[in-house]
C-alpha cells in the first residue's frame, strides 16, 4: 500500500514508517498539517494515517477538506484524545477509523488492513455467502457448514466467525472484535474474548485437520484458509 503518514511526533513517525516499510508498504511522511494536505491532494495514496493534533492545520480540518473535494481515500485517525466524544467527532468529520495513542503497532496494522479491505470491497457490496477454505457461511439463512458438515452456532458465535472470515488473511485484534461483534468500547479485565474464541474453535476447528483460527501472539486472531 502507498501510505501517507501525517504526524508531528518525529520519533513516532519514524517508528511507524519503519514498521510499515518492513511490511512492504510505501510510506510518505509529512510533519505538519499544511504539508500533509498538500501531499494528500496532489498524490495518490491508498491510505492516510493522520494525527488529530498537528501544527499549521489540524487533522480534522484536513479530513473535512478532503471529503469536501470528493476524496474517498480511507483515513485512520491517531489521537491522544481517547474519549468517545472525540472518537465520534473524528468519525463524523469523515475519518474511517480511530486509534487512541498509545497503541500497539500490531493494532495499527490490523486496522489498516481492515480499512483497505473495506475500501476495496466497497460498502454497498452485499454478500450473502462467505467462504474460508472448506468453511461456508450462509449469511441469509445463518447456517455454517464445513466440509459439508452442518455446524450449530449460537447467534453471537456466528457474528464472531463472520467478522473473522470477512477479514480472513488479516490480523483481527481483540479491540476490533469488541467494537464490531459486541458493539461496545470497553476494557475487559480478563481474557473473556479468548474464551469465546476457544468455544468457536471447539465447534469449527476441533474435528478438522486444518485450524482455521490461529492466534497471533500479542496481537489477536487470524483466519487463514490454509
Amino acid at each position: 500500500m502507498r501510505v501517507l503518514l501525517v504526524e508531528d511526533d518525529n520519533e513516532l513517525n519514524t517508528y511507524i514508517a519503519k514498521g510499515l516499510r518492513e511490511q512492504g508498504h510505501t510510506v510518505d511522511i509529512a510533519s505538519d498539517g499544511k504539508d500533509g494536505l498538500f501531499l494528500a491532494t496532489t498524490e495518490n495514496f491508498d491510505l492516510l494515517i493522520l494525527d488529530r493534533m498537528l501544527p499549521k492545520l489540524d487533522g480534522l480540518t484536513i479530513i473535512k477538506t478532503l471529503r469536501a473535494s470528493n476524496s474517498k481515500v480511507p483515513v485512520l485517525i491517531l489521537s491522544a484524545l481517547g474519549e468517545v466524544d472525540d472518537r465520534v467527532m473524528g468519525l463524523k468529520a469523515g475519518g474511517d477509523d480511530y486509534l487512541v495513542k498509545p497503541f500497539a503497532f500490531s493494532e495499527l496494522v490490523a486496522r489498516m488492513d481492515a480499512l483497505k479491505r473495506r475500501y476495496e470491497s466497497g460498502t454497498d457490496n452485499v454478500t450473502t455467502r462467505l467462504e474460508a477454505g472448506d468453511l461456508v457461511m450462509d449469511l441469509l439463512g445463518r447456517k455454517v457448514t464445513r466440509a459439508g458438515q452442518k455446524i450449530d452456532l449460537q447467534s453471537r458465535e456466528f457474528k464472531l466467525l463472520e467478522y473473522l472470515v470477512r477479514h480472513q488473511g488479516q490480523v483481527v485484534t481483540r479491540t476490533m472484535l469488541l467494537e464490531n461483534v459486541w458493539n461496545y468500547h470497553f476494557d475487559p479485565q480478563t481474557n473473556v474474548i479468548d474464551v469465546h474464541i476457544s468455544r468457536l474453535r471447539s465447534k469449527i476447528d476441533k474435528e478438522f485437520d486444518h485450524q482455521l483460527i490461529r492466534t497471533v501472539r500479542g496481537a489477536g486472531y487470524i483466519v487463514e484458509a490454509g
Binding site: 517508528y15 461496545y184 476494557d187 473473556v192 469465546h196
Partner: protein, 445 residues
C-alpha cells in the same frame, strides 16, 4: 405562606380599626354623659336643698353661663314650664342607654341664638320625685366634628398600613422569586455539569444583585479549577502515556527482532515484558477514565438505552468464561429503559460480573437480576464467593484497594472505583449486601 401572613395582618388591622372606632364612640358618649350628669346633679342639689327654689332662676343662670347647654323643665303634667329649649325635636335617635340625640333649630329656642341652621345635641332626662322632669341637652357638634376628623385620619392610617402590608407582600414575592431563580439555575448547572453558565439576575436590588454576583464569581472559580484539573489530566494523558507507549513499542521491536532470530526462550521474556507494559497502560487508561468521569468530562454521551438488552449482552459475554470455571449465570431481566452512557454502563456491569466470576467457587451460581419497578431500574448481581467483610465494605470503591482474598488474582483494584464513578454520574446509588454466603451488589437508578 406570604399570602397567609398578609391576610392575617390585613385582618388584624381591620379588627383593630373596628375596635378603635368603637372605643372612640364610647368615649365620646361618656364625655357627653359626664357633662350632662354634672349639670343635672347641680340642679338636683339645688332642688334637694330647697324645694321652693326658683327653678327658672337657676336654669336661667345656668344657660347663661353655659352657652352650649339647653334645658327644659316639664311639670308633673308634662307641660314645659322653664328652660330655654321650648321644642324637643320629633326626630331623635338613641345614642346610648338613656341618652337621646336630636337636632335643635333656632325656633326651638326661647333665648337668642348665635347659630344658624341647627345644632346637634345629646340629651338626658332626669325625673324628680314629684314627677317633674328635667331635660338637659348638650351641644355635641364640636365633638362630632372631632370624631369625624379622627375617623378620617384613622381611615387614612389604615389604608397606609394596608398599603405597606400589600407592598411587603409583593416585595417578599419578588425576593422569593429571585431566590428561586438562583436555586433553579444552580440546580441546572449541577445537573448538566455545564460550569460555564452563570446566574442571570437583572435587579435593582443591591443585596440580591450582590448575591448573584458573588455566586457567579464562585462558579467562575470552580470552572477554572475544573479546567485546571482537566488540563492536568489531559497533560498526564499526553505526557505520561506517550513515553509509556514508546517503552512498550521498543519492547515490541525487541520482541520482533528476537522472533526473527528464532530465539524462543528470550522471546518469552520480551513477551512477558510486553504483557506487563500493557497491564500498566490499561491501569493508566482506567485511572484516566475514572478521573474524566468524576470531573464531568463525559456528560454529553447520554442517550436512551435499553438497559435489559445491555445487561443481557454482558451476561452472554461472560457466559463462556463462567462455564469454563464451572459457574452458571442465572438471569431474571425485565425490560427497562434508562437515560445513560451505554459504554460506561456496559463496563460497570462487566466489572461486576468479572468480579463475580473471579471470586465464585466452581459449582455455584451467579444471579443477575434487573427489575423495572416504579420506573427506577434496579440491578443486582449476586455471587457465592468469599464476600466482603464489613470493615472492607466502605473501602472497596477506593482506587487500587484490594481485599486480602483478591490480592493474588488478576486485576488492578480500579474496577469498583470505575463502577462508583459511573454510578455517581448517573445519579444512582450502589449498595453492598452480604449474601450469606457471598456478596450481592445492588445498583438503584
Amino acid at each position: 405562606m406570604a399570602l397567609l401572613f398578609t391576610l392575617l395582618l390585613g385582618a388584624s388591622v381591620t379588627i383593630l380599626a373596628y375596635f378603635i372606632n368603637q372605643f372612640n364612640e364610647a368615649s365620646l358618649i361618656r364625655e357627653v354623659e359626664l357633662g350632662i350628669d354634672t349639670n343635672i346633679a347641680s340642679i338636683r342639689d339645688w332642688v334637694d336643698i330647697d324645694m321652693d327654689v326658683d327653678i327658672d332662676d337657676i336654669l336661667t343662670q345656668l344657660y347663661r353661663n353655659h352657652p352650649n347647654t339647653w334645658y327644659t323643665w316639664f311639670d308633673p303634667q308634662g307641660e314645659i314650664r322653664y328652660g330655654n329649649l321650648s321644642e324637643v325635636g320629633q326626630q331623635n335617635s338613641l345614642m346610648a342607654e338613656g341618652i337621646v340625640r336630636f337636632e335643635i333649630l333656632p325656633q326651638d329656642v326661647r333665648t337668642p341664638v348665635d347659630f344658624e341652621g341647627y345644632r346637634t345635641v345629646a340629651a338626658k332626662v332626669h325625673t324628680f320625685p314629684d314627677g317633674s322632669r328635667l331635660l338637659v341637652a348638650q351641644d355635641i357638634e364640636e365633638a362630632l366634628e372631632t370624631r369625624q376628623r379622627m375617623k378620617v385620619l384613622g381611615g387614612i392610617t389604615i389604608l397606609l398600613m394596608l398599603a405597606v402590608i400589600g407592598t411587603s407582600f409583593f416585595i417578599s414575592n419578588y425576593v422569593v422569586a429571585m431566590i428561586n431563580n438562583i436555586a433553579t439555575t444552580s440546580r441546572q448547572i449541577m445537573t448538566t455539569g455545564d460550569l460555564s453558565r452563570r446566574i442571570d439576575i437583572n435587579t435593582k436590588w443591591d443585596d440580591l444583585g450582590n448575591l448573584a454576583a458573588t455566586l457567579n464569581e464562585m462558579l467562575s472559580r470552580i470552572e477554572h479549577l475544573m479546567i485546571g484539573v482537566r488540563r492536568v489530566s489531559d497533560n498526564i494523558a499526553h505526557d505520561l502515556r506517550t513515553p509509556l507507549s514508546r517503552l512498550r513499542n521498543r519492547i515490541e521491536e525487541l520482541d520482533m527482532h528476537l522472533q526473527k532470530k528464532g530465539d524462543s526462550e528470550e522471546h518469552v521474556f520480551t513477551e512477558n515484558l510486553i504483557k506487563e507494559a500493557d497491564r500498566l497502560l490499561l491501569t493508566f487508561n482506567a485511572l484516566l477514565r475514572i478521573s474524566n468521569i468524576e470531573s464531568g468530562k463525559r456528560h454529553s454521551e447520554f442517550a436512551e438505552i435499553e438497559l435489559d438488552e445491555l445487561v443481557q449482552d454482558v451476561v452472554d459475554f461472560y457466559q463462556p468464561l463462567a462455564e469454563n470455571n464451572g459457574i452458571s449465570i442465572e438471569s431474571r431481566i425485565e425490560a427497562s429503559k434508562l437515560f445513560g452512557d451505554r459504554d460506561l454502563l456496559f463496563q460497570v456491569v462487566a466489572n461486576l460480573l468479572d468480579n463475580a466470576v473471579k471470586f465464585s467457587p466452581s459449582d455455584t451460581v451467579i444471579e443477575v437480576a434487573l427489575s423495572a419497578d416504579s420506573s427506577n431500574p434496579t440491578l443486582s448481581v449476586r455471587d457465592r464467593g468469599p464476600g466482603i467483610s464489613d470493615e472492607d465494605k466502605p473501602r472497596v470503591f477506593d482506587r487500587f484497594f484490594r481485599t486480602e482474598e483478591s490480592r493474588h488474582s488478576q486485576g488492578n483494584g480500579l474496577g469498583l472505583s470505575l463502577v462508583a464513578a459511573v454510578v455517581e454520574m448517573h445519579r444512582a446509588n450502589i449498595e453492598l449486601r452480604d449474601a450469606d454466603p457471598g456478596l450481592e451488589i445492588l445498583i438503584r437508578f
